[in-house]
């Protein structure tokens, strides 16, 4: 007799589509944005097989604009969707910093973690950091894009500040992106990885690690 495992829906289709839209467009934005720095010719990336084109600003600019369109659309979809659904479980709460320290200590020492809701305190903080950085990049990116829609001349000091903020926010985004992936090095987080594809997580895992998550009440 085949043993079946009961599953709990953790991420809806909408959430997963938006997540992967942001993730894929984010990677393309990083790749094309670094190409716009310019870095690929300087550091001989163009000499790698099949990458002779990456120093072409025309190509990387078009990639950046298309990926930026997807990124911007997905972020606004995410904000409006969750506002209208009144879903704020990923937003940081009071005490998340101290709780995150406890969680990290527990992970390092092998002690029991405190009970979690749908998201861990550190996940909520990471979400806020990534969300804030993404919004900064989106806002400054839109200003930069606006001036490229025609003969648009904005105040030079304003444009310099906007451009520098966009450029400085990029390595922060890259760091958070890598840290996000790095979270899956920790064994306790492994069961969460497939949920971004299937949407479902094992009920046993949810009940054990996320006892404060009242998934039955989810619509």
């Amino acid at each position: 007799m085949m043993k079946t495992t009961e599953k709990i829906l953790r991420h809806s289709n909408t959430v997963r589509i938006i997540h992967w839209s942001v993730a894929i467009s984010g990677m393309l934005l990083l790749f094309s944005g670094i190409g716009q720095m310019p870095m690929y010719k300087r550091y001989n990336v163009v000499l790698l097989p099949g990458l002779y084109w990456v120093s072409d600003y025309n190509i990387t600019l078009v990639i950046h604009l298309i990926a930026g369109a997807v990124f911007g659309a997905a972020i606004l979809y995410h904000i409006v969707y969750h506002l209208m659904q009144k879903e704020f479980s990923a937003m940081p709460r009071s005490g998340d910093v101290s709780e995150s320290i406890i969680i990290i200590k527990a992970m390092l020492t092998g002690k029991e973690e405190p009970p979690h809701g749908k998201f861990l305190a550190e996940q909520r903080l990471a979400y806020a950091a990534m969300g804030l950085t993404s919004l900064v990049l989106l806002l400054t990116g839109l200003i930069k894009v606006y001036k490229n829609t025609g003969i648009v001349i904005l105040q030079p000091e304003f444009m310099t500040a906007t451009t520098l903020i966009h450029t400085i926010a990029t390595p922060i985004f890259l760091f958070l992106f890598v840290a996000h992936l790095g979270a899956f090095v920790i064994k306790e987080n492994w069961p969460l990885f497939p949920t971004m594809f299937s949407g479902y997580v094992n009920k046993k895992y949810a009940d054990h690690r996320h006892p404060l998550w009242n998934y039955k009440e989810k619509k």
């Binding site: 809806s12 979809y77 409006v80 894009v145 001349i153």
Partner: protein, 335 residues
């Protein structure tokens, strides 16, 4: 409430349609005002100062801007790792027959065949101060700026010397000097390559109510500065007078420098290309210089409108689901 895949896609289609509709509203913003500065260069008058070793405009520019010229740190004059070369003009400051970090204007001399005769043409060359300059709009550090008054200016305190501005300029105007600028502070981290230099239309002189040095010293009065409307009118007047041609009014989507010539620019361009050691690097007067900003503006418009489309899509999808849930609840109650 759960949004099904079909509803989500409906929302995205609605959002996409909204984006497509709004994208049809073509932008025609022209922030370069008629009162901004523009210059006119009359190639019929310019004789290249044949009695002087160096044309007067070049000498005047050098004298005016000498205090802005780079003084590189000798220790930083080393290859841009992992590259094996670096750009140093500090020991070639006397070069006046091309643009360098120490020479922001030069007179391009070319013999053009007109009606079977060779005619010497002298073309003062410097930054065109484009209306929609790709060097400004693509600088990743915001070092290049376009001033409302007309000049394009590179801030040496911010410039990293990546030379992207030169790569996207169809005339390769900005020139790099190694060993100066903010990148030297990062050494030994291998990033940046110096500072880019070019004509800034003597913006400081303009602020003082003076004309640019090159214009002031031109013995033939071949160069004129004025408001954009004045210069465009003057250029058209000269064109009609010479039964000639204008260059710079439409190229790159418009520039702040208009050349007027009795000889067609196609012929001048052919002569420039045929004379050049490397035609790929020739500073041309071709009719269709490539402006990456103009050629990607439709993608920029799409990227600008996409977040609106996303918001509309989410709103439409959520409203549709709520409506459907309401109908289903009513249906359940009736049964």
């Amino acid at each position: 409430m759960k949004i099904k895949r079909r509803t989500f896609l409906q929302g995205m289609v609605a959002a996409g349609t909204a984006a497509a509709l709004t994208n049809k509203v073509d932008r025609a913003t022209a922030d370069v005002s008629d009162s901004s500065y523009a210059t006119l260069i009359d190639l019929t008058k310019c004789d290249g100062c044949p009695d002087q070793d160096t044309p007067a405009c070049v000498m005047a520019c050098r004298a005016e801007n000498e205090h802005k010229y780079p003084e590189p740190d000798p220790a930083m004059l080393k290859p841009y790792w992992p590259q094996t070369k670096f750009e140093d003009w500090s020991n070639k400051r006397d070069v006046t027959n091309r643009l360098t970090p120490y020479n922001w204007i030069f007179v391009q001399k070319v013999n053009v065949e007109v009606d079977g005769e060779m005619v010497e043409t002298n073309i003062p060359r410097r930054c065109m101060h484009c209306d929609n300059p790709p060097c400004v709009k693509l600088c990743p550090f915001g070092a290049n700026v376009k001033m409302k008054e007309g000049p394009v200016y590179i801030n040496p305190d911010i410039c990293f010397g990546g030379a992207k501005c030169r790569d996207v300029c169809p005339w390769s105007v900005p020139q790099r000097q190694a060993g100066v600028g903010i990148y030297t502070k990062l050494d030994p981290i291998p990033a940046g390559g110096g500072v880019m230099y070019q004509c800034d239309m003597c913006k400081d002189r303009l602020a003082e109510g003076k004309v640019p040095a090159c214009i002031e010293e031109c013995p033939q009065e071949a160069m004129v500065i004025g408001t954009r409307s004045e210069i465009f009118a003057k250029a058209e007047e000269l064109r009609q007078q010479y039964n000639g041609y204008i260059y710079g009014d439409k190229q790159m989507g418009g520039t702040g420098t208009l050349y007027v010539s009795q000889i067609p620019f196609e012929k001048i361009d052919e002569a420039i290309v045929s004379k050049a050691d490397d035609p790929e690097k020739a500073m041309r007067v071709h009719d269709t210089p490539y402006n990456v900003i103009d050629n990607t503006s439709h993608w920029s418009s799409a990227a600008l409108l996409a977040p609106v489309a996303g918001a509309i899509g989410a709103f439409a999808a959520t409203v549709a689901v709520k409506k459907r849930n309401k109908q289903e609840d009513a249906h359940d109650e009736n049964n």
